[in-house]
């Protein structure tokens, strides 16, 4: 029994608590001194939790100073949610090494991946100073997730395992327990997501909008005042922690929005009750405020080059690099090249659910997909479009991740027209028309229409090069640009034969990340939308996967969710990747595309190299922007 417990009782590492240490090592934040002295704000030891989290700085980081304003550029008002992503204060969060660690929580006890006991920090407070306790979790569970009006379909489906809801308990003010009878491997990653699952809500604030806590007249008055259809509309409108549009909504993030939309400029101010301090006793974040200017996204590179942003990566692209670099001589910033964590920067998606029967059979034939891949001259594409800076690869995991194996990346990607032609001849496509284009069994020419979302000329440039090499294999390619919505609808409906898009989102997964993206589980997977829809709707709509390899992927994905050990999950991951290596359901072209990140010379602690992607990195989030600081003296 004892050994069994040892094996399955996993306590996530916690960052040392300081309750034992004396409180006099804490230093008051200069910008808050005035407020504290005027009695408008409690002093620092009353603001931070009793067991405060001491930030562990990385080797390339140095402890800094308070102050300064970080200027950012965003393309739309809605983009202010990026601050919630960058801030990345989560119940549990990823480290740059992609381990899960308790962050807002003091610690998490995980039992068999099915019982999760969350321990809150004593004395932790919301940004308005109200205590953050298990009541906030209860409010979410009882009054939001299980309120039949507010959540019609019940709690979020990540909280449901085999149709079973968790048992949620609140033993005391600082403890919350979620337990299922089967493992729920989706729970912790969901809490750590760039767009997290919020299982806590500021109850003291939101109660004023909730029908259960307010009189009918008060609710009716609010509906009238805010011009909503019902009280749920009012509640949802004020409860948008991710969008950060409501400055009155208390938060636990390092910076709090202070600007009511609509505006062209949003100011986020430091959260005086934030739960992290640096090793020298300074409360984080170092940076006092963030100013976001909204500018047309096409102007963002130009404005960045004119030194109007201190930390910019959004809306910059590889082809802005030379401009940014040359302008950096005039202005005080540094251009770094980070990397996208996508499996492929560009990938072709043969639609296995396309309506045309002849093409559908072809797409589903493994030999055809391999022939298509062999007939792409990836090296040429790399040299012509990307200055030879990227990696020619399949759409698969990257070598920086723990699950990488060279064969996943290299299989079937060499430019081999002879083999491609041979495979196509074997398929019974040996006849050709007078242009040299192969003929289908029913006499039509083999013409593949590739849908593009019409967003970047880069994709059409690549398609132009593929067109030339495919033609030598007797395949005629046409690209059809449209808009993003039309593009997707054509794929769902099966009108699209093939499409071009980026590859898997999180290509540096660990075995603990869900492999769902690699199996037919969602209708947004462009290679098998109908099969994905079938899984998503539990068989109510869509079509059941017909290829054995696809069925196997669904099966493995389900097995992964039930697996109880890390080794099992790793094994399943490799089985899945092996199927993808062999089957080429998507045809990756290149990956490892650098992403320019512009960093002001006065801004410290921003890593030289990193991954720039929302999943799993939350863009800058896992590098902890609350530890970035300005050298005000030099500025």
């Amino acid at each position: 029994m004892k050994t069994l417990l040892n094996g399955i009782f996993l306590i996530l590492p916690l960052i040392s608590a300081t309750s034992a240490q004396a409180m006099d090592w804490l230093k008051e934040t200069p910008s808050l001194v005035e407020l504290v002295e005027a009695g408008k704000l409690p002093s620092i030891d009353d603001r931070i939790p009793d067991d405060v989290q001491v930030a562990q700085l990385r080797l390339d980081q140095a402890p800094g100073e308070h102050g300064g304003q970080l200027r950012l550029l965003m393309g739309k008002q809605k983009d202010i949610r990026q601050i919630v992503i960058y801030g990345y204060a989560r119940l549990v969060g990823y480290t740059p090494e992609l381990e899960l660690k308790a962050d807002i929580l003091k610690r998490v006890e995980v039992f068999e991946n099915r019982v999760f006991t969350l321990h809150l920090r004593k004395g932790h407070k919301w940004s308005d100073g109200h205590p953050f306790t298990s009541e906030d979790f209860r409010y979410y569970w009882e009054d939001v997730a299980n309120n039949p009006e507010l959540s019609k379909g019940g709690p979020n489906k990540l909280l449901i395992v085999d149709g079973e809801l968790p048992e949620v308990e609140f033993p005391d003010k600082h403890t919350v327990r979620y337990s299922w009878s089967n493992p729920n491997p989706y729970f912790m990653p969901a809490l750590a997501g760039a767009r997290p699952l919020y299982i806590y809500k500021p109850a003291h604030y939101l109660r004023q909008f909730h029908a259960r806590y307010q009189s009918e007249e008060a609710i009716a008055r609010q509906i009238e005042e805010f011009a909503k259809r019902n009280w749920m509309g009012v509640h949802v409108n004020y409860d948008r922690p991710y969008k950060a549009t409501n400055p009155d909504l208390p938060t636990l993030q390092p910076w709090v929005n202070t600007t009511y939309p609509p505006s062209e400029r949003f100011i986020f101010k430091r959260n005086p009750y934030y739960h992290r301090v640096d090793p020298n006793g300074r409360q984080l974040p170092y940076i006092d405020s963030i100013a976001i200017n909204i500018a047309s996204s096409k102007l963002v590179p130009a404005k960045t080059g004119a030194d109007e942003s201190d930390l910019q990566a959004r809306y910059l692209r590889m082809d802005n690099y030379t401009f940014l670099k040359s302008a950096s001589k005039r202005n005080n910033y540094d251009v770094r090249l980070w990397q996208a964590a996508k499996g492929a920067h560009i990938a072709l998606y043969p639609n296995l659910n396309t309506n045309d029967k002849v093409y559908r059979e072809l797409m589903r034939d493994l030999r055809f997909r391999r022939a298509l891949s062999h007939a792409i001259h990836r090296h040429e594409i790399n040299q012509v479009v990307y200055f030879g800076l990227v990696q020619e690869s399949n759409n698969t995991v990257l070598e920086e991740g723990p699950l990488y194996r060279p064969e996943y990346q290299n299989n079937w990607i060499e430019y081999d027209l002879k083999h491609a032609n041979q495979l196509l001849d074997e398929l019974g496509l040996a006849e050709r028309d007078d242009r040299g284009v192969r003929l289908l069994p029913d006499g039509r020419s083999l013409e593949i229409l590739i849908q593009t979302a019409g967003e970047s000329t880069e994709q059409t440039d690549v398609l132009e090069l593929i067109h030339d090499s495919w033609l030598q294999a007797g395949i005629k390619l046409y690209s059809i640009p449209s808009t993003r919505e039309v593009f997707r609808n054509r794929i769902f409906s099966g009108d699209a034969m093939m499409s071009i898009w980026s590859g898997i989102e999180n290509a540096i997964p660990t075995a603990e990340n869900s492999p769902g993206e690699l199996a037919p589980t969602s209708k947004y997977q462009y290679q098998w939308p109908q099969w994905g829809l079938y899984y998503e709707s539990s068989g109510k709509s869509g079509e059941a996967p017909e290829l054995t390899a696809a069925q196997e992927l669904v099966h493995l994905n389900d097995q992964w969710a039930r697996a109880s050990t890390h080794e099992q999950r790793e094994l399943i991951w490799h089985q899945i990747l092996e199927i993808h290596r062999d089957q080429m359901f998507t045809i990756g072209i290149v990956n490892h595309v650098p992403h320019p990140v512009v960093v002001s010379n006065y801004l410290h602690n921003v890593p030289e190299k990193g991954f720039y992607d929302i999943s799993p990195g939350a863009y800058f989030g896992i590098y902890k922007p609350d530890t970035f600081w300005f050298d005000e003296a030099r500025r």
């Binding site: 008002q77 609509p262 062209e264 200017n293 004119a306 993003r484 919505e485």
Partner: protein, 332 residues
């Protein structure tokens, strides 16, 4: 006269009803609705989408209701000055547009004044000095303005203004003045930025106006009463201004009809390129994301101004030029 105005106003009603239907149907023509384009946008950035939340929003926004129902809701709302709700901004339409209206009007009026100040003297000069070097030179300049693509000119000027004057790129003021209360510094910052869009938007309008003024004036200057006046020794200034110029200005009054809506909408493309805080970019992005009440209400507002502007210019024309009769056929 009064009867005429009344009749015109009455015919406006069916016109506006038809416009409202057209606007609504055209906005709805692209496949999907706002929420679908919203999902597509989130996913293109790799963000997760909560289907339940989407379903909830669809009900809250009334997007699950039939088209006719949505139309009725929108039109009846507008009659009570409720312009609907912007999904994109999650705010009532009036709040979204309201803020930007003022700056849009500033830019538009500045541009119109710029156009007039440049176009009038040049137009008059080239008409009175037809086929002279000055006429050719200025006309060439005008045509250049007309032919240069606005957005290109905008980008070039932004670049030079930034490199030589240190003006921040795009926008209408330095960022620290946005949302700040009005002050002298803020005004100066606006003036610093204002001249670029004014010149860019103004150049093409200027060229058009020069041509029209020149043509109209030339027609008039050939007339016999002018020749007679000149023969009788009238001073050239009076000869020009007393009648020919006034008559030549008819087109100018007729322009009011189209001028009114442009004052509100601003020049969309230039505003997008230069990232101006005007209403143009809002309208464009609302149309792209199918934010239907925002786009619809805005277009309706423009339609209303157009219809109204045409009426005003018709009445003004009748008052200014006794040769023009109201209600044409009836008076015969």
């Amino acid at each position: 006269m009064l009867g005429y105005i009344l009749r015109r106003i009455l015919t406006m009603i069916p016109t506006l009803v038809v416009i409202s239907m057209l606007v609504f149907v055209i906005i709805q023509l692209p496949p999907g609705d706002y929420l679908e384009s919203h999902i597509a946008e989130l996913q293109s950035h790799g963000e997760s989408v909560d289907e339940q939340k989407i379903q909830f929003l669809r009900e809250q926004y009334g997007l699950d209701k039939p088209l006719v129902h949505q139309y009725w809701y929108w039109v009846t709302g507008m009659l009570q000055a409720d312009f609907g709700y912007s999904f994109e901004y999650e705010l009532p339409v009036s709040e979204v547009v309201g803020d930007r209206l003022f700056l849009t009007v500033i830019i538009s009026i500045a541009t119109i004044l710029f156009t007039w100040i440049i176009a009038f003297p040049i137009g008059i000069y080239s008409a009175t000095h037809q086929y002279s070097w000055g006429d050719y030179g200025l006309s060439t300049l005008g045509f250049l303005g007309l032919a240069t693509p606005n957005f290109l000119l905008a980008l070039v000027m932004l670049y030079f203004a930034n490199v030589y004057f240190g003006t921040s790129i795009g926008g209408l003021m330095d960022s620290e003045y946005i949302d700040a209360p009005w002050s002298i510094d803020k005004m100066i910052s606006i003036l610093e930025h204002l001249w670029i869009p004014v010149i860019v938007i103004g150049t093409s309008g200027t060229a058009g106006m020069i041509r029209r003024l020149r043509a109209n004036l030339l027609d008039e200057l050939q007339k016999q009463y002018v020749v007679t006046g000149r023969a009788k020794g009238l001073p050239p200034g009076k000869l020009l201004v007393k009648y020919p110029l006034r008559v030549a200005l008819n087109f100018f009054v007729a322009d009011i009809g189209t001028l009114l809506p442009t004052v509100i909408s601003g020049a969309e493309i230039v505003a997008v390129v230069m990232s101006l805080p005007t209403t143009g970019p809002i309208l464009l992005s609302a149309l792209q994301s199918q934010d239907m009440y925002l786009a619809g209400s805005f277009l309706m507002f423009l339609a209303l101004l157009t219809v109204f502007g045409v009426l005003v210019s018709d009445i003004a024309l009748a008052l200014l030029d006794p040769r023009i009769r109201l209600g044409g056929g009836a008076s015969k």
